[in-house]
Symmetry: D2
Subunit: 262 residues, 4 copies
């Protein structure tokens, strides 16, 4: 299990959310409160939109808490839309290529969760990636494979439908392989203009996911970064949150049957 | 293009061949003489047989010339059979998982060369890897894919036949995809008891490969590590060298048709 | 605070103590039980005696738990005397040069503790290092400075006296600078033939230090690596343990006045 | 010997000078033309002024040519004043802390050259650093020590005088120690508003240093980044260049006697 944060709003320094708060994402890399693992020390990444349609990206395999470059980038980069992620590996190697967020053109994606039985069905999940996107597969994570698979299923047209369709295929592969472990999925996707955040699980234990919207912007987090609990609302399980600065956040059901190993 | 060295013989410190000679492999990481690239600074690896049937392995993404750990390991590990490799990347990322040698059980493999058009046919080359070995695919190189593909085609029974059969399949995929760039292949394989070294190219430019056999053992190199040219013999193009300590080295033709884009 | 382990005895694979036990040092890198910090993820090191009078050394700035090279080295290197250390940094950078153990010729040293007010008196502590050893100062830790300072005060003749004399000088510098924070010191030193382990604190809270001696050898640890509590004895505070395979371990008082900020 | 680049002018993407040109600094990391070493693969750094008085900083110990993060940062960060440096180590370790540029508050500094006999006189050079700046000493290079020493001698008031005074002290230490090897010094300093570039040598072989000033800004380089030789002017040996956007560049003699080992 990992921890992540997404922001869209008035341009702010990344550190405002990632480094400065009481329970910032960098602090969560050492002491997460609501995750399965307290330590998220298997690499990290930060991606931001600024000068181009494509996001900038800094990923590194060291723990976030001791990386001087991360602190400097957070202190210097001002952005209206950024993602940050600290990783707790669940079976794949600690490499830059396995660190979130992942990017593809103007899209960016990050994830906290698990594909049950992934080691047994990795090849089948990879087979969901279209040929023309396969070269963008540079690591071995389930997250990157799901992102590329969804990119071939209409992310640009309807992200919620594309992601739901992809998860349906993943669930089918899990069923075919007789996997009984759950698919748990909290994730955030962006194209540089809005954030789609997903919370879904094939069992009763979806990872936590919260959001807060104010005049300055909207924040999506694995767990709150400060002590204002009234300000944070949980994304309901089984839903996608469509969030953009200046528009009220919207919740949509993901319409995924939950018949994993029935 | 990369540089490598393989040794089988009386147990010696790895540094004897990898660090100490006039033109040692570590020196070749900065100043190779016969390769396409003078600098081989995109990671390195050393693997050795000692306490177990499986080899020990130290791979790192930094250049070999500045890695203190490599110097220490070379100075302390004594082995009767070891491989060492310095990498010049040709399109894939600089990660540990892309550094040679690769291991699978008691087998170890390393390579210098290129699969023409690899970026376009990577997925097809990966499809040659059997299902039960696919989890061992942790990087994105052509070398690792070819190694795992060959491992599913009888490496334990007849390494020369298994490797030739695999290259034949790779050539077929290159043809199918209309690739006109060459397949150039120098490589070394071991199971811990002997070394099989391969030199083959679909064009007239196979990378260099040399060997030297003496009372103490046999050495296979991309380029000589010292100035005794009479001692080094070239492996003839199109041949596999079967080398083991205490037996005369043997040359076998690889029997690969060369009709790439005819 | 860090965690460490030292062994002298019949040659064994390093993994026997560092990777395999229920509560091995690698497990302690993620979940230490008795330290101030549960996570010791700011680099690690392993040093061993084998082929030479000088130890081999593998240090890396990544967390121990995810380092494939560490697992391989532990599985392949057999040694009669080795040190291993996982680091929780206390103010200095996460670099290889700041990872323990430190070596100097045939000596090797590692530490868990703190020099109170170190940031303010670092230069004075470094001034204790003799000129001819100063080039060996490659990092910025208190540990390395104390080791080099002790090396100039007779480590080869009487390690307990040399270390006590060095700590006395460190305490004097702390006093001069008006430091009130404690000097807490647990450490292990070896010359390749015996282990000297130290436990001392200027306040009532010396870090834990245990040892176990059996027919096969002697082990010194920051905290036990298995559940046999009767087998582990605490090194009494204020004492040095002199431990070598085949000789009964011996305890000596360190004779350090404790008048820090009186 | 290293290679570096400094820019002050209209805000531009860093890649415009560091990654895109025919002979960009990243290309120079693999194939420098005028340096003593063709390969500058021992780490790199880029520092830029943007949101704060203090510069942002990204330094890494890998070669520049293969670092994905560097490419991304260069493509996304727009700045009116930035430094970039690729390193060829001359005796000190390949660590982030030894990578240029170095920063101190709003100052930034980088260097290409050598302090003859540095290993023998490192301690004396470090002694030139004032007490209150000593904690900022995190690596072991001559460059960082000279920068901190100069910072204690009036960098904010008169950078040319402060640097000249510091080099005079360094030369005195070299003389005292009987060093006959040369002091060669090309360097760039900035406070975020102007660039001071230095070219001086105690022998007849000062490293190269060029500059070009146009309507958009001023560039200082170890060697030209493109083929417009008429555009590049050499900084004369023994001089400091004071360069700022919108003001004509000015040359000042450094007034350093050259009586090293007379």
């Amino acid at each position: 299990m990992c921890r992540f944060l997404a922001y869209h709003g008035e341009p702010i320094l990344i550190e405002t959310l990632v480094a400065s708060p009481t329970h910032s994402l960098i602090k969560q890399s050492q002491h997460a409160a609501e995750g399965k693992t307290e330590t998220n020390g298997d690499g990290f990444g930060v991606g931001w939109y600024g000068e181009r349609a494509e996001p900038g990206l800094y990923r590194e395999l060291r723990p976030a808490w001791s990386d001087e470059n991360l602190w400097s980038i957070c202190a210097q980069v001002r952005s209206k839309l950024f993602f940050a992620h600290v990783r707790a590996a669940t079976g794949t190697a600690t490499t830059r290529a396995n660190c979130h967020p992942f990017t593809l053109g103007r899209f960016m994606f990050m994830h906290n969760g698990q594909v049950g039985g992934y080691r047994a069905i990795r090849r089948r999940i990879e087979a969901l990636v279209p040929d023309d996107l396969y070269l963008s597969r540079t690591g071995t994570t389930d997250t990157e494979a799901i992102f590329l698979a969804a990119a071939g299923r209409g992310l640009a047209d309807d992200p919620v439908a594309a992601m739901s369709a992809t998860l349906r295929l993943v669930l089918a592969e899990m069923r075919r392989a007789g996997v009984t472990a759950a698919l748990r999925f909290t994730a955030a996707l962006t194209d540089g203009t809005a954030i789609w955040a997903f919370r879904w699980s094939s069992d009763a234990f979806p990872p936590t996911l919260y959001y807060r919207q104010g005049a300055c912007g909207v924040i999506v987090v694995s767990e709150p970064i400060d002590d204002e609990p009234e300000g944070w609302r949980a994304v309901p399980a089984g839903h996608a949150l469509v969030a953009a600065h200046g528009r009220p956040a919207e919740l949509r059901p993901m319409e995924l049957e939950v018949a994993l190993a029935a």
